[in-house]
């Protein structure tokens, strides 16, 4: 019984999700190898090798894997899957894309977005937008699992594990990369930030999101949004916190002009401290907030910025 973890990165940097996913894999109880696939990986490979709990790092360094397209990634994972009882990746848009493909090719179920490991076969995962937590036991001999990284801790460091390269390349001809449009931001990523400030429909338009900038600068916060704000076209979808967006669990979450729909709460209710600013005293967000401020956001946001 051995576990394979697939590392999460963007070719430039290793993502904290990798370490947190390894933390989940450690709880499954078996020796852990990590596969890192991409282009130009030497620096990241040694970073992975020094994450505590990693026995071997397998490096598939080839421009075929640069964009981690699902078709080629799943063929690559499949080619080494015989050695493993557990195949684990983060439930990021990359992991969510190729892992079900791996599961289907192995003819096994996938257990999606686990938030806790009960034992090597049994896991907890949220269903119905986090309104219920299911405990499920896998009956397959091989388990394919994605991990909600925000529910696990970062692993410590160790002296470097062995690094081996995988030279066989699986280039699926089914799809090809066309282009990427990265959202440029100096701020931390939503899923990695220790403070998140999010705006909702109450922000009224996209320009008003600038009111959050000064506060985010002072707190080193990432800026998020509710689905209502995304649907209204105020901000792009990659800022969305919620059931259908990103799941965050920062030390401090500040919800501004967000009513607190079920879908939004599903994405942030595991935050350590929640602050809600809303002029409607009956907004459901106040039921989960540690500190509520019933006020007009346009009055209090500038005050908050200068008070910090």
């Amino acid at each position: 019984m051995k576990t394979l973890v697939i590392a999460e990165h963007d070719n430039g940097a290793l993502k904290p999700e990798t370490s947190k996913t390894i933390n989940a894999a450690v709880k499954m109880g078996f020796s852990i190898d990590v596969l890192i696939a991409g282009n130009n990986l030497s620096a990241m490979s040694s970073q992975v090798a020094s994450i505590d709990g990693v026995a071997n790092v397998l490096v598939a360094d080839n421009n075929v894997y640069e964009h981690q397209l699902a078709e080629s990634m799943s063929d690559l994972v499949l080619s080494i899957s015989d050695n493993y009882s557990h195949i684990v990746a983060s439930a990021t848009t990359t992991g969510k894309n190729f892992m079900p493909r791996v599961a289907a090719l192995l003819d096994v179920a996938q257990i999606s977005e686990i938030i806790a490991v009960v034992d090597a076969d049994t896991f907890k995962r949220p269903i119905y937008a986090g309104n219920a937590i299911a405990t499920v036991k896998s009956l397959d001999s091989k388990k394919v699992i994605t991990v909600r990284a925000s529910s696990f801790d970062l692993q410590g460091e160790q002296s470097a594990a062995a690094i081996t390269s995988i030279d066989t390349v699986s280039d699926s001809q089914l799809s090809s990369f066309v282009s990427v449009e990265q959202t440029e931001s100096e701020r931390p990523e939503l899923t990695a930030a220790s403070v998140v400030i999010s705006g909702g429909r109450g922000m009224q338009n996209g320009e008003n999101f600038a009111l959050l900038n000064g506060i985010a600068d002072k707190l080193g916060a990432a800026i998020g949004a509710s689905r209502a704000a995304v649907d209204a076209g105020f901000v792009p979808n990659d800022m969305q916190v919620g059931q259908t967006g990103k799941i965050v669990a920062p030390n401090l979450y500040i919800a501004v002009g967000i009513s607190g729909a079920i879908q939004h709460l599903a994405g942030m209710k595991d935050s350590k401290v929640i602050v809600a600013i809303n002029k409607d005293p009956d907004a459901p967000i106040f039921q989960v907030a540690d500190y509520g401020l019933v006020a007009d956001l346009f009055e209090v946001l500038p005050q908050l910025e200068s008070a910090l």
């Binding site: 990021t92 190729f98 405990t135 602050v275 500190y291």
Partner: protein, 249 residues
């Protein structure tokens, strides 16, 4: 070109799911049901392809109990040409669903399959990817834009940190994200017309797919509840509490 749209009957997205008192599952007795929101977006996209002259036929398919024909009728009212109901009373997993859909793909040979990226009940986000794997097709998941040209489909995908565009050879599988389109409402005349559109019923166990469970549901619990905190008077008090009480800034 023919487009197949698999859809799912789920709890209405405005309804809060309640856990059964014996913790065996979520209680869906007398709960309002509807088409999964991402499936509505998939149907809408297929109909727009037909309106643009790219698609010639839109086939909606669902897997579930008899009641899920209601959602097929909705799909027909929205503009699908025909519907297929794979009937079963079993609670099936994504892998089973993907295998049953693969049989329908074999039978209908659609050039494009468009599905919702996830259903709001099981929140698995698996079926489209599994179907693509089982039918050896390329996949464009979490689509916010779909363009068909020169025998390929270009799919712009909502990924962490931005947008990625991939080109897939046809036939292909696409899964929808929220911003792909805004679904229309069915008009009353179209709802009436939908009653006369063809709806084929196939028994799930007649398709030769092994439907043995791969997972056992041990229990379903309410998530740990957060208790409401306090209402602060003003910004000064808020900052004070965050500094000295919560110690997070």
């Amino acid at each position: 070109m023919k487009v197949l749209v698999p859809i799912k009957r789920v709890i209405d997205y405005n309804v809060k799911a309640r856990v059964k008192s014996d913790n065996s599952d979520v209680d869906l007795t007398n709960v309002k049901m509807a088409m999964n929101p991402f499936c509505e977006i998939a149907i809408e996209e297929a109909i727009r392809l037909k309106e643009a002259g790219t698609a010639t036929e839109v086939v909606a398919v669902t897997i579930g109990a008899k009641a899920s024909q209601e959602q097929l009728r909705t799909a027909l009212a929205l503009g699908a040409d025909k519907a297929i109901h794979i009937e079963t009373d079993e609670k099936l997993e994504s892998l089973h669903i993907a295998k049953l859909l693969a049989k329908i793909v074999e039978q209908e040979t659609p050039e494009l399959v468009i599905l919702g990226k996830q259903s709001i009940d099981s929140d698995n986000n698996q079926t489209g990817q599994m179907l693509a794997a089982l039918t050896n097709r390329g996949q464009g998941t979490f689509a916010s834009k779909v363009v068909i040209e020169n025998g390929k489909v270009n799919v712009t995908r909502e990924v962490d940190g931005g947008l990625q565009t991939v080109a897939l050879n046809l036939p292909a599988v696409v899964t929808t994200d929220l911003r792909l389109n805004e679904p229309r409402y069915a008009s009353l005349p179209n709802i009436m017309k939908a009653k006369r559109k063809p709806l084929e019923v196939i028994a799930a166990d007649s398709l030769g797919v092994d439907l043995t469970p791969r997972m056992q549901l041990i229990s379903v619990e309410e998530p740990a509840k957060r208790t409401a905190g306090i209402i602060v008077e003003d910004v000064a008090q808020l900052v004070e509490k965050l500094k000295t009480e919560a110690k997070v800034i």
